[in-house]
Amino acid sequence: MKVTKIALILGLASTLPNLVNAATLEQVIKKGVLNCGVSTGIPGFSATDSKGVWKGIDVDFCRSVATAVLGDASKVKYIPLTAKERFTALQSGEIDLLSRASTWTATRDTSLGLNFAGVNYYDGQGFLVKKEIGVTSAKELDGASFCIQAGTTTELNLTDYFKSNNMEYKAVTFDTSGQTIDAFKKGRCDAVTSDASQLYGLRIKLDDPKSAVVLPDIISKEPLGPVVRQGDDEWFNVVRWSLFATLEAEELGVTSSNVDKQLKSSNPSVKRLLGVTGKAGENLGLKSDWAYQIVKQVGNYEEMFDNNVGKNSPLNIDRGLNNLWNKGGLMYAMPIR
């Protein structure tokens, strides 16, 4: 008896590694919920509103993937992570998808056992300074102290920028962006440096947002995108094409308000996108109306952008690089066919 019990326990234990490595898509469908890693509060990207509801362009991406896989945008469990926790959380399987304004770099893509599934926001590093110090360009910041969030590409870019311009600086690093902006408020540092989009978000948190300005200088490329574990191509495809679907919908003019009408569209591209014809959904291991549901429940990329960071939001950031390729931006979806 005892021997069989022990054998049973050992047998169960030996299946543990397989559990961890099982296909994420199947797991998510089985659980009925998507564990999505987001930030601890970056306005416009992922932050809770006054009612405790998660909002932001990264949050909308979580919802898109949940919609594609589970058919319901609300079936997302948001797991707030600091910059330094995020990759470990993904590696260990605590989350299925990391959608947390993470910069796509070679080191992260190759040595962490992770893959970036695309870019949902093209950003660049900038500086937020108090108006009273009278600085108009980053080149005038020689000798200044900077508040930074630990574990970001920002820390490295800052070093590179000051070294290449033969300037000096002092870095004061904090765990969360909240602590960073707090220290800036109290005058611990002269400037905050981060991705420019985040700086606009942090500025709103100041008592008097107009007392600070974001300098025009952009010192780095920060392509931000969703991240998944390496070696699970099926899941990688689902995430990547969920992103493409939102872009394709914008390009084809399919929005959450006209998507039902568009089902009867004669445009073959729209038909393929919405699953009227073709087998895009089936090939991904999803239902044929996956993209229809994304646009219906969450919206296309333009809607996500405008509502969270663009013209309909307090951040009011210009589309700029994040416009579609045929409108002067870099956003380009591979064709669905």
Binding site: G143, G151, E155, L156, K163, T173, D175, R188
Partner: protein
Amino acid sequence: MNNSKLPPTSLGLFNSPKNRAIIFQVLSLVVVVLCIFYFVNNMFDNVAKRGITTGFSFLGETAGFGISQSLIHYDDTSSTFLDVFIVGLLNTMLVGVIGIILASGLGLLIGIGRLSSNYLISKLSLVYIETFRNIPILLQILFWYNVVLAALPSPRQSISYFDSIFINNRGLIVPDPIFESGSFSILVAFVLACISVVYLSKWANKRHDLTGEEFPVVKVSLGILIGAPLLMFFLAGQPISADYPALKGFNFKGGLTIIPELLALIFALSIYTATYIAEAVRAGIEAVPPGQKEAAKSLGLKEHVILRKVVLPQALRVIIPPVINQYLNLVKNSSLATAIGYPEIVTLFSGTTLNQVGQAIEIILMTMAVYLVFSIVISLLLNWVNARMEIKGR
């Protein structure tokens, strides 16, 4: 069936309680080792499957980020992750050493004050202990940090003393000593002074034992410790000069900056730990039989001499073990500095470095090893002191 054919010794092997005990111990050891092996193997297997880089080669790579306080030379663009590790280690040690010294002094004072016959002093000590002991240390760290930042002016409105010491919300800026050639002789003079002080106190003790005469050891020692290096300083032609801080642009250039994070952390840790040390001191003093004190009093010794020569030496035996614990706690609590951005080992190494490199297992293991070594060294050191105290007291 076959039992009857077995040799009697083999029966005895399993039936003797001694052998059984050994067999079961060996068996459980094997199970434990197998379990550990299984988990470690599983971990490596999973890490390899996911294509996560392993090993310690990352320590040689260039770190490439700035650190606000470093006791060794650290360059943003050329220093490696190993340097980051050392910088973090030294910063943790700095907080530990200063914190332990301040907490001990403060704790001793408060502990004695708690037993004072002066109503005000004893009640103030009580209030101090009960207040700071009952507020979580993390909150205290945040409190002091906010106090430090809120109370101090910006660099341009710095509070200055003699135009060489400045206080503002970037920290305490003092002149940085520059050691020129010849300053080594001052160090030699200081070491010699230390040695002579040790011999002086031994000689004074001996004389006291033989003749009963007192010698002003403390005053003379202080004189030697300060006088000898000072004399050498002038003899060697003043080889130490100072780099004075000056306001240039946004911040002070030159000088030595003590960052507000360090100040806040040391404040919080020593004030918090001192409460526990004070209670240990009080317990130790109360454990000394009152007859000892009365006997000393009847000999005509003064109050402070009784405390120093009769009560404290005996109390120390009771005080040291709990105080060891508090020292260990102080060092471990210093990792909470990550909340205010003080660059100690947890912030720098298992924070920033972990995120840049992504090798969680190696980095967390190294960080844990640091605290383990710190704790073991502190407890060994104080156990040794404890052992010496015990023999001396009897």
